[in-house]
Symmetry: C2
Subunit: 416 residues, 2 copies
């Protein structure tokens, strides 16, 4: 008889039917004798509706008031799910972030969790109730409503699991786990039964949307056992079967697995490449180029500086596609000041990475990756490596081709 | 420089445009140097949408969770209105009922206000902010969300005005005041510049929907100066003009008015008449008949018992139309037990009343009322009187005819 935290995302609670389905699944765990805390998102589409409503009043909504508005989405869901549980004869009650005093800093719209008052939740669990908590939201020290930013419900779920020392935090979503790559691109993509935290983090940073990167970091920090699984299966499948489904995010040192060379291939097309060509190679050029971009809150990802020839070098980096034009505007005065030859942007790129903890102890992954891409005639524009990841930037038109070729050459369709 | 509480109903905040309009009106009062607290309802239609959503999960929604859901409607409005004010350069901030600790009992869906923490509001007012509060909602002693029931936002407004000793509580709505009768029925109906609390209460009990009866009671009890006025006028009309608009609800002893014989005619078609005929006239019949109805939470209004003939009497009363069939079901065993001859219901009735504090000191109102109805051939089915009200129940097909004839015979179209 364990304490389980289950988190259901927007699609999983996207309609009355879906919510009743979730209630059945929760009821099953409760009836099997487990203590269950459920963390929910807003019904799918609801947060966007509220943001649009806010923007119809103020094009750049006041962040504090926007949080007051957006937090209502999850508040509706907690009421509905509690009702659905009560309807099944399962005692349940709802809590907003404020009611369990999920304390955050006051960075409205992107607040960070500081503390959780677990007393109310525990006393309800002892009284035999299922506790339903609104994800994504909290309050600051002055009792102002805050939200944790997009995908913050995952983080709420993990934080509550950590506070309660839950046995497992189950993240229910509309996919049935973490795959070797996107099954819409590679039909033979295979679900991973386990993946390490580090791999999960690298995949998230490459654009995999299965789990929020903050939630993964949080779980890693507080050693929360995390499982990603599907809310679209029959809610009445056996607990035994469900407990083994999805993907478990493991700590590398738990000894339960044979580390795979490569666990997965992640990619995204949402970035653009900006290059400054012919920059005089003097100390501090990286700072001079990236400082104005950081000040404008533009996120820079892959950064590559070529070796110098004739005292000149080329400097490239990627930014979100929507920020490319602004980045180039910001860099024009820098280009002039530095006397760089050219400043160009390219929005038609794809960032693609191989991730695997096995890379640590095995060489040759990079070589094999470049060989595969070369055999397919895919030109590599940028390369960046970390201990367990190799990232390349290529022309976006080669994306599917490259992903499929790499998936096959690393035998990812075969069970690890 | 006064402290003003303004309350805006669902229609007044029914769209982004309307909310921006409200913001302009509030900004005008603020810029004229007044301290302003604004209490708002949910956008029109929103509460019904939320209730329907809840009912799609649970046909009889859990009242506690329903309050969690329904309270989000006002929470969205406070955020939107605060943004609209900030957008106009007016410092503003929002509060949910819980955030100002508007303490209620725990009768979910129809909670009563016990106390309000005015400190946060006052410190914001001193800091020069407009304070925007969610109407209709509060928290109980355990910090559970409660709502005050339909129309509860009026009560919130009055309670906050009382707590802050505001100079006036202005209830903005989609009509421009209280009329002698419904202008849709009588074209010459006239707006009253003043009406007494007692008259307002009697009109509300007769079905006038301009003000919630609880809000009027609350204002009477705490001596809150209350004004009903329109939110549909140009928001930029002068403060002087707006201060004189609408209808002021006065305390009778303030000596500012010449009491009219009859102030208004209220009516509603939402009730049905239930009659038990040939009841043996023994002590306790009223209790025996009304007890099961009260236990079923059915609201009984006009009650009439005829004088006894041959030891038998007839007993009639009105209930909301939707409760008529259930009332008759409940009374069938009582009828049998008592040996009453017949039990009949009639849903085609209209309740109509003349209201006026002048009736206290002037006779002849009832005689003139009955004469007018007789001249028009309107049969009176039930009569009930109070100190400042005469109520009759008539066939609903005569409703317009009766209202128009009475409006004319009491010269209500002329200024009082």
């Amino acid at each position: 008889m364990a304490l389980i935290v289950q988190k259901y995302g927007g699609t999983s609670v996207g309609s009355s039917e879906r919510i009743m389905n979730v209630a059945q699944r929760v009821a099953k765990w409760k009836r099997a004798g487990h203590d269950v805390v459920v963390v929910v998102s807003a019904m799918s589409g609801e947060t966007n509706r509220l943001i649009e409503l806010a923007q119809s009043i103020q094009s750049q909504p006041d962040p504090k008031e926007l949080d007051v508005i957006c937090s209502t989405g999850e508040q509706v869901t907690i009421g509905l799910l509690s009702m659905a549980l009560i309807n099944l004869g399962v005692p349940a009650r709802s809590y907003t972030g404020g009611q369990i005093r999920l304390l955050t800093d006051n960075s409205y719209s992107k607040a960070r969790i500081l503390e959780i008052d677990k007393d109310r939740i525990q006393s309800d669990l002892h009284a035999g109730k299922v506790v339903v908590v609104a994800g994504f939201q909290g309050v600051d020290a002055d009792n102002n409503i805050t939200t944790l930013g997009r995908g913050g419900s995952d983080t709420s779920g993990v934080a509550i699991a950590a506070a309660l020392s839950a046995q497992e935090c189950q993240i229910y979503t509309d996919v049935d786990g973490v795959y070797t790559t996107d099954p819409r691109v590679v039909a033979t993509a295979r679900r991973l039964t386990t993946v390490t935290f580090e791999e999960m983090l690298e995949m998230a940073s490459l654009g995999s949307k299965v789990l929020q990167i903050r939630a993964v970091e949080f779980a890693g920090k507080y050693k929360v056992r995390l499982r990603v699984l599907s809310s679209l299966t029959d809610p009445n499948i056996s607990i035994e079967e469900e407990s083994q489904s999805g993907t478990l995010i493991t700590f590398e040192d738990d000894g339960t697995m044979e580390a795979a060379l490569v666990s997965g291939i992640a990619f995204n097309r949402d970035e653009a490449k900006v290059t400054m060509l012919g920059v005089p190679d003097t100390p501090g050029i990286a700072f001079k180029i990236l400082d104005p971009i950081a000040n404008a809150n533009i996120e820079v990802d892959v950064i590559v500086q070529n070796i110098s020839t004739d005292g000149k070098t080329d400097f490239s980096f990627t930014v979100p596609k929507g920020d490319m034009d602004r980045t180039i505007e910001l860099l024009k005065p820098v280009q002039e000041e530095m006397g760089a030859r050219e400043l160009v942007g390219d929005g038609k790129i794809c960032k693609l990475g191989l991730v695997g903890v096995g890379m640590r102890s095995h060489g040759g992954v990079a070589r094999k990756m470049f060989e595969t891409l070369s055999n397919e005639g895919v030109n590599i524009q940028m390369i960046s490596t970390s201990e367990i990841k190799i990232t390349v930037v290529i022309d976006e038109k080669y994306m599917e081709l490259a992903v499929r070729a790499l998936h096959q050459s690393f035998n990812l369709e075969e069970s690890n």
